[in-house]
Symmetry: D2
Subunit: 338 residues, 4 copies
Amino acid sequence: MAVKIGLIGAGRMGRVYASTLAFSVSEVDLVAVADPDRAALAEVADRYHIPSTYQDYRDLLGSQEVEAVVVASPTGTHAEVIAAAAQAGKHIFSEKPLSQNLQRCDEALKAVRQAGVKLQMGFMRRFDAPYAAAKQKILDGVIGKPVMFKSTSRDPKRTSLEFAKRENSGGLILDMGVHDFDLARWLMDSEVARVHSEGACLAFPELKEVGDIDNVVINLRFTNDAIGNIDLSRNAVYGYDIRTEVLGTDGSLWIGYLQQTPTLVLTRAGVMHDTVPYFMERFGSAYAEQVRVFVKHILEDTPPEVTGEDARAATAIGIAATLSLDEGRPVQVREVDL
Amino acid sequence: MAVKIGLIGAGRMGRVYASTLAFSVSEVDLVAVADPDRAALAEVADRYHIPSTYQDYRDLLGSQEVEAVVVASPTGTHAEVIAAAAQAGKHIFSEKPLSQNLQRCDEALKAVRQAGVKLQMGFMRRFDAPYAAAKQKILDGVIGKPVMFKSTSRDPKRTSLEFAKRENSGGLILDMGVHDFDLARWLMDSEVARVHSEGACLAFPELKEVGDIDNVVINLRFTNDAIGNIDLSRNAVYGYDIRTEVLGTDGSLWIGYLQQTPTLVLTRAGVMHDTVPYFMERFGSAYAEQVRVFVKHILEDTPPEVTGEDARAATAIGIAATLSLDEGRPVQVREVDL
Amino acid sequence: MAVKIGLIGAGRMGRVYASTLAFSVSEVDLVAVADPDRAALAEVADRYHIPSTYQDYRDLLGSQEVEAVVVASPTGTHAEVIAAAAQAGKHIFSEKPLSQNLQRCDEALKAVRQAGVKLQMGFMRRFDAPYAAAKQKILDGVIGKPVMFKSTSRDPKRTSLEFAKRENSGGLILDMGVHDFDLARWLMDSEVARVHSEGACLAFPELKEVGDIDNVVINLRFTNDAIGNIDLSRNAVYGYDIRTEVLGTDGSLWIGYLQQTPTLVLTRAGVMHDTVPYFMERFGSAYAEQVRVFVKHILEDTPPEVTGEDARAATAIGIAATLSLDEGRPVQVREVDL
Amino acid sequence: MAVKIGLIGAGRMGRVYASTLAFSVSEVDLVAVADPDRAALAEVADRYHIPSTYQDYRDLLGSQEVEAVVVASPTGTHAEVIAAAAQAGKHIFSEKPLSQNLQRCDEALKAVRQAGVKLQMGFMRRFDAPYAAAKQKILDGVIGKPVMFKSTSRDPKRTSLEFAKRENSGGLILDMGVHDFDLARWLMDSEVARVHSEGACLAFPELKEVGDIDNVVINLRFTNDAIGNIDLSRNAVYGYDIRTEVLGTDGSLWIGYLQQTPTLVLTRAGVMHDTVPYFMERFGSAYAEQVRVFVKHILEDTPPEVTGEDARAATAIGIAATLSLDEGRPVQVREVDL
């Protein structure tokens, strides 16, 4: 009883999902793929044995066979594609973000609600084994009441200047921080009420030209009075660095460290080991796991745990944190989300 | 220009290789599979889209289409299957061990040499990124001259009693130690000249009934006078534990640690984290990597780096170490390999 | 040619310094001790073989023999004692803080300048081997230009309610953060220009009664545009937790980890180890090291590297961070330091 | 009620004990010191305020005032000094080893028994916090029945050639391994029945000239059938490296790691930290702790837990392991100890 899936987008993330759907999730048939780029479309269809191809994703949505779609189209199109897929009655798994515009978030979410389809957002860190284990520990009461959230997300290099522009990626805070904002809400089980950002362009002066920064620290205050801080950086030249701490009244949880299976080199100079190069090495299996869970929700008709509302909330925090950076003052999240 | 591959064996390891060949190695076509078990055969062929199936592997070897085979049949059949595949003119990738009998090793190797085909043995630890990095560091002279080899291989549970019998697995030393013996020869770049084993049945008394032990330490002396020690255990109840050290005159290398990406739980009781459950979590990607390298050797007509002779040498050390256990004395490896 | 030292204060920290001066620093003679508490005075004099005792520290300052003093009197008296010691022509080593009042800081510093004596402040973390090594690495250019400062100081338990009052300890931020403020200025080699605090009383409701909080995160902006964040907590029930990171354009430094020499316990439940209980286990040797350096400065007539001005600057940051907490807005440090 | 102690030996270890007795153990008075070297004697007496000095230790033993002695004289004299101290009715704390000759061990132990005095041997690793914690965990049953003992002792440099001679240090195995032999007996709670050594001179050819080796691995078999392995090396150029594992039926214990409080340096080249330089940095506090315990045993008239018999047993294992090296065969410990 396999779920018949159509893939929208055959770019970098589209291929990650194609491979996952074709090889790693057994209860699905990947029956269609859509992408305006003819060459990419042909290559992905061939490599992953996908029978139907479409240049226009709306034609894919028109296929009776397709029961659910995986949205891996460019970031700026997510909200529109999700709304159209919902109107076509398809269940939807979508890469983050929903949209960097809260109004467009709302339109998409309304379409989903009206159609009564399932929507699961690709916050894959929730499906990473260490993060999932940490959430369970918190639910089990191992660290008591969570009081402080600390999170670090650092890339080993800067993005392209084109992508760095606010109109494209949303800027450092929205682009990189959205995962941390989602983790904050999820692990602390409380909404973020207020943010304060200190950021600057310190390592890559050329980013300033296009209006972006490369380092930021963001104070958080949750509605339950818990506090937190997130730091984001583009210059972790030593490797991809994703770590989170949750300090509670009875203990603390540390999630993530620099490497996987170390080779230690010990010489007169000291002890040396390497780090995780980048995100697929660190989170590759989480990408597959979240799709497995999405398929299970369809087959068993259960609600997804990472909703469009979650994606919207993370975006709202990012917008507020960006505003705090721009205006140099703490910003209540509700200011940007009336 | 993909290499057309036939898979011999559709059991546990056969499926690992089917998945690898179907999904993770791009320059191959998995065109045939053989297994006497009809149900397993059908299931694997269906799951991995393999067009031809055979109950008798000799029929698969008769196929003109098949250029190379991956041997994942039961341990005791490897030597026979390798010889037959060589006689059929197929390149061969084979799971370890070659055979636990040196004479049968020699017969298979003779067939391979006469046919002029490539044979690569599945010592996948050599393809594990940390081990490969360590080997390169040694070649680069980072630790000077290697003088001591230390290796630990511990399973989280005992094998079945049937498998534990010497006539099946070869016993603890041959079954588990063969990887360490291969690492010893490879990393130290010297043959093992003498071994001394101290072992006992200490954790699982029922193993004694079938003639096996559950813990052993094995002293090594290399032909270049370097020394070493390997410990093997079936009762690492805390998780799968694979570690190796190479101490040199200018430094040391430590390969492996207990876990991958940790979640640390910090409470009044202390700091706690989990471990690697078992071998696929630890070495899964090395299984794919070694097949990629094998296919590359075929396409580029270059010699495999893990040869049948390597497999034979590791087996000879294991036989000598088992004899040392039985007779309570150091054993020269050449005693068992005239 | 030993320096003759008088110790002012025979309480908890007084005894730490008495032990250090008597046993761990060879070029000093501990010739006098002052404390209004007769019993404490007698006990310390006897235990550390100190010939002269005084109930009034001003009498100790009147002694011709005493060349330098170590000030370990109650926090609130430091500025007054330092000024008096300076006026008496003694070199001064003083426990932190200088004062929690900037005007009183200035009065003490003026007295020191006018007398031309040496003053070294007890920011012992600068003398802790890992922190000292980190500073040297930064000076060596190992991580390029420092762009982000992250620091964590967490106590395993709350202070007494009496001590928690702002009029006594200065509150959480001034009491615990002063070391981090000093590290921030020292490691980043830039002054702190702006701070923003989010804090709350989350673990110990009784602290709210006396006007204190138990958790806080503090955003920093340096005058050179670098950024930072400090978190302070009273509920690190898992152990004393002091860690600092400095992220630069060419790398990062991590200073500190939870424990010293670990015993790992590996069972079916996972891997467990313990932590550092409290500050003397972690920083004990740094207390001695800083005094050794102070004595060396006297003997060689060189300027101390941890000055009263440093102490004043750290206090100013703390006052600004506390104001940010009280008023819920970012505060320029110069606002509190006209 | 302080115990009056005489120190025999004012060399390197004598000074370690003088400092400990003078400063770190409160219930003792260090009343006398003996050393044939006049200058060393005067310096130690002056530095640690010791009233009585003797060039001949027998004169110190004649002092009525002295209740107990700490023996830190040259290794070869321990047995003789212990016997004389016992005959003089003094309690005795002695640096290891007792003697490298089992007959001389027996003579000293006989004198101790006849005199009814307390003798505690300086196996200070038993008093190191991580080792003490591990022993307690084993007694608590945390790892079930211990089945395998693994221990590593590696020095960062070779000894002097003079010291390396067997007639002086006893050679690598007896000199360095004696601590591991003691740990083996203590942690496994079983006697060592059989040993097998593989060793060679691999890093420092000059050691071969004086009859010593620089690397060795030693297989152990305990009387309760448990097994073990110890490796010793003089070429741990990366730092002093002391680690022990005890694998049991329900878990494992790892004691020791390379460093204390790390500074991690993260650059493009990887992550680097330093190591422990040498033994005082690693075991300094254990030296003091064992003396504290000795004094407590005298004051409370309780039996020491590290006896002369323990020292004798460790020596016997070392002699057997050295014989195994010389003769290339496993050696029963009882062969050398009839």
